[in-house]
């Protein structure tokens, strides 16, 4: 972004990569897949790079409001400093913070989750999926992340993207507003689960495997990690893949 600013240019959209997308090796693949699509379509986008910071989501949900407010203050100062209007992100937690929680603190942006963004690109004909691509005839199930689904009521856009593939979409028993959490939210990602009978991600992965799908589509880097672990726990990692919708699109253009 600093480069755009130095040249006096404005990007069409700021891509908010998020911590997982920046540092987690698995999630980096989602980041690269999404930027490949953006490059292919020819969208002028920027990233904040080293200036990007955690939105503060895990701190806020763990109860550390003070740390959240510090992160929010700094991020909003950076974004407003560059005059950012439009943000796209590959993480529903970042999306929720931008859409719902930064406005009260002076950060007002048009924000899109990457699945909605991809759906619009497909609908506008800017992204054309190859006929009989990598997913032709495969059974796919889709996992609603809590913060995209229940949190913000976005259930259809990711499904529309999946329907653009020539595949069979099989819903899990618990889907849409009744979808079950992967176990990562509320800062659980960063700590061991409390004692219990099983792990939440094991339970959710089992529900996904019950559909008989060979691909579990996700929209959140944390869900992707959790479900991948859950699939491994059932020793199904050779036959069943957990993929972000952006990775699936990138493979098919």
């Amino acid at each position: 972004m600093a480069e755009y600013a130095a040249n006096g240019e404005t990007p069409e959209v700021l891509f908010w990569v998020g911590c997982a997308g920046s540092f987690d090796q698995r999630a980096q693949k989602i980041t690269r897949a999404f930027t490949q699509i953006l490059d292919k379509v020819g969208i002028k986008f920027a990233i904040l790079g080293k200036e990007e910071m955690c939105t503060g989501d895990p701190a806020r949900r763990a109860g550390n409001e003070f740390l959240f407010q510090m992160m929010a203050y700094n991020n909003i100062a950076t974004l407003n400093g560059y005059g950012i209007k439009k943000v796209v992100t590959i993480c529903p937690h970042c999306f929720n913070i931008f859409k719902n929680e930064y406005p009260a603190l002076g950060g007002n942006y048009e924000v899109m989750h990457h699945t909605t963004f991809l759906q619009q690109l497909i609908n506008d004909g800017k992204v054309k999926l190859k006929d009989g691509g990598a997913f032709k005839g495969k059974k796919i199930t889709y996992h609603d992340s809590c913060y995209l689904g229940r949190g913000n009521g976005i259930y259809e856009a990711p499904r529309e993207v999946l329907q653009a593939f020539d595949t069979e979409l099989i819903e899990m028993k618990r889907c849409r507003s009744n979808g079950m959490c992967c176990g990562a939210g509320g800062a659980q990602m960063f700590k061991e689960e409390e004692p219990g009978a099983t792990r939440i991600n094991f339970e959710r992965a089992e529900q996904a495997l019950e559909t008989g799908a060979t691909i579990i589509a996700a929209n959140c880097p944390f869900c992707t990690t959790m479900l991948t672990d859950g699939v491994k726990n059932k020793e199904k990692e050779d036959s069943v893949k957990v993929m972000d919708i952006a990775e699936m699109v990138a493979m098919s253009i």
């Binding site: 990569v17 911590c19 997308g21 920046s22 540092f23 987690d24 980096q28 693949k29 980041t31 690269r32 080293k50 990007e52 955690c54 895990p58 701190a59 806020r60 949900r61 763990a62 109860g63 550390n64 409001e65 003070f66 740390l67 407010q69 992160m71 203050y73 929720n96 859409k99 719902n100 929680e101 009260a104 603190l105 809590c146 229940r150 949190g151 913000n152 009521g153 618990r174 507003s177 009744n178 079950m180 959490c181 176990g183 939210g185 509320g186 800062a187 659980q188 990602m189 960063f190 700590k191 061991e192 689960e193 409390e194 004692p195 219990g196 009978a197 099983t198 939440i200 339970e203 959710r204």
Partner: protein
């Protein structure tokens, strides 16, 4: 004789209404012990929520079987209250079936309709009893319901079965009495839809015996109604009233959004931009906890939620933590909040003002382990038919743990430290944030 009955009835009615009002005023006082929160915006949407969710029971229909049974009981309860109006006026004025001569043929139609509803309520309650006690639906038989909550649920259902039975027996006796010599004040109506078919079961009985049956049922029914009215505020069944305000005042923002804490927002602002801080340090406000330790730190809406909960357990049945054997149960969060609030209320009743009792909501009612298990997935919030928000309470208690008590698991402290120092929850250098480009 009539006069004695009339006087007894009026004493009974006045006492029942007085005691009920007293308890309701006390509950209102308890709810207002909560933090102030302005929820009067967007009235149009709020009325719509109340009509759709409370009156229309929109969310109940996600689970059709209990929804239909509940609709029987609910519709019966509301509509039969019209008949209670007649019973009340009869009692107060010393009349019998006051509306019968006025309404003519319509009267038997209405009573017939009420009888059908009463029968449906009866069937609904019997099936509910079976679900709780014989088929043992999981969410209705969990451990947190042991003791009083389970008895409360059964007592409500049994009371409704008894009340409806009394109503139907009373009408049957009335049908048998009509037109008989010695029962002239039992005005003649068209046959009631259900009880007219059963009046022969009383065929061998004398007129005084029938009158006795009719009167005893009438009295037991109305005594039961008044007793039930006064039982409501002590029971989970109070949801029949509070569902309405609770739906009205429910959260209008997206479910994913957490409420801001302006106090801390300003604290950070003054730290970053000291020139924006108020020039003269204002008098240090009375210490308020960050987040909530006890019910009085919660918002009044959280407390209204607690009184509105009917312990149906839909929230707990979808909670990912609970499903996988963790201690957290959103229903228990609401039950604990109500129990603690009642305790604080009783403390105020006894001591005129709250006398510290060395207890609080955290630890004494809700354990840290329960709070730590929440993934903030909002499934409980989505599921609640009367728009209770257990997550809001969980988050406020977490805030207090972390900010007031510095009580966080070691892994979270590391995460906080990483965010503060590396701008990410993991221990990576912020210089590497764009390293994925080279991957």
């Amino acid at each position: 004789m009539h006069l004695v009955q009339q006087i007894l009835f009026i004493i009974l009615a006045v006492t029942a209404i007085y005691l009920f009002s007293k308890k309701v005023i006390e509950m209102r006082r308890n709810i207002l012990l909560g933090r102030d929160e302005d929820l009067n915006d967007n009235k149009g949407q709020r009325w719509k929520n109340m009509v759709l969710l409370a009156l229309g029971q929109k969310k109940m229909f996600k689970r059709p079987t209990p929804a239909i049974l509940h609709l029987f009981v609910y519709a019966g309860f509301i509509i039969i209250n019209v008949e209670i109006l007649e019973i009340f006026l009869d009692g107060a004025l010393g009349m019998h079936r006051l509306f019968a001569p006025m309404l003519g043929g319509l009267y038997a139609f209405l009573i017939g309709f009420f009888e059908i509803l009463a029968a449906l309520v009866l069937i609904g309650c019997v099936i509910f009893l079976i679900r709780r006690n014989i088929t043992k639906v999981k969410r209705l038989t969990m451990k947190e319901l042991d003791g009083w909550p389970r008895n409360d649920a059964n007592l409500i259902l049994v009371t409704e079965v008894i009340l409806m039975s009394l109503f139907l027996i009373m009408n049957t006796a009335d049908q048998a009495l009509q037109g008989q010599v010695g029962a002239e004040h039992y005005s003649t109506t068209d046959p009631f839809w259900i009880t007219a078919h059963f009046k022969n079961i009383f065929s061998g009985l004398s007129v005084p015996a029938l009158i006795a049956i009719e009167r005893v049922c009438w009295w037991l029914h109305i005594i039961g109604v008044f007793a039930f009215l006064n039982y409501l505020p002590y029971s989970k069944h109070f949801h029949i009233l509070l569902a309405f305000p609770n739906a009205y005042y429910s959260k209008l923002m997206p479910q994913g959004e957490m409420k801001n804490m302006p106090v801390i927002q300003n604290e950070v602002l003054y730290m970053m931009e000291p020139d924006k801080a108020p020039p003269t340090p204002t008098e240090p406000a009375e210490h308020k906890n960050f987040g909530a330790k006890d019910v009085t730190d919660l918002s009044w809406k959280n407390l209204l939620d607690a009184y509105s909960c009917t312990e149906c357990g839909r929230c707990t049945s979808v909670c990912p933590a609970n499903m996988t054997g963790k201690k957290l149960s959103p229903r228990k969060i609401m039950m604990d909040t109500r129990d603690r609030l009642e305790e604080v209320g009783n403390n105020i009743n006894t001591n005129k003002e709250f006398k510290p009792d060395g207890k609080q909501l955290i630890n004494d009612y809700i354990t840290v382990e329960e709070l730590r298990a929440c993934t903030s997935c909002q499934a409980c919030v989505e599921e609640c038919p009367v728009m209770i928000d257990p997550l809001s309470i969980i988050i406020q208690l977490r805030r207090s743990l972390v900010m007031d008590d510095s009580n966080a698991p070691q892994e979270w402290n590391l995460m906080f430290g990483n965010i503060e120092n590396n701008m990410a929850p993991w221990k990576f250098s912020s210089d590497d944030r764009d390293a994925w480009v080279n991957g």
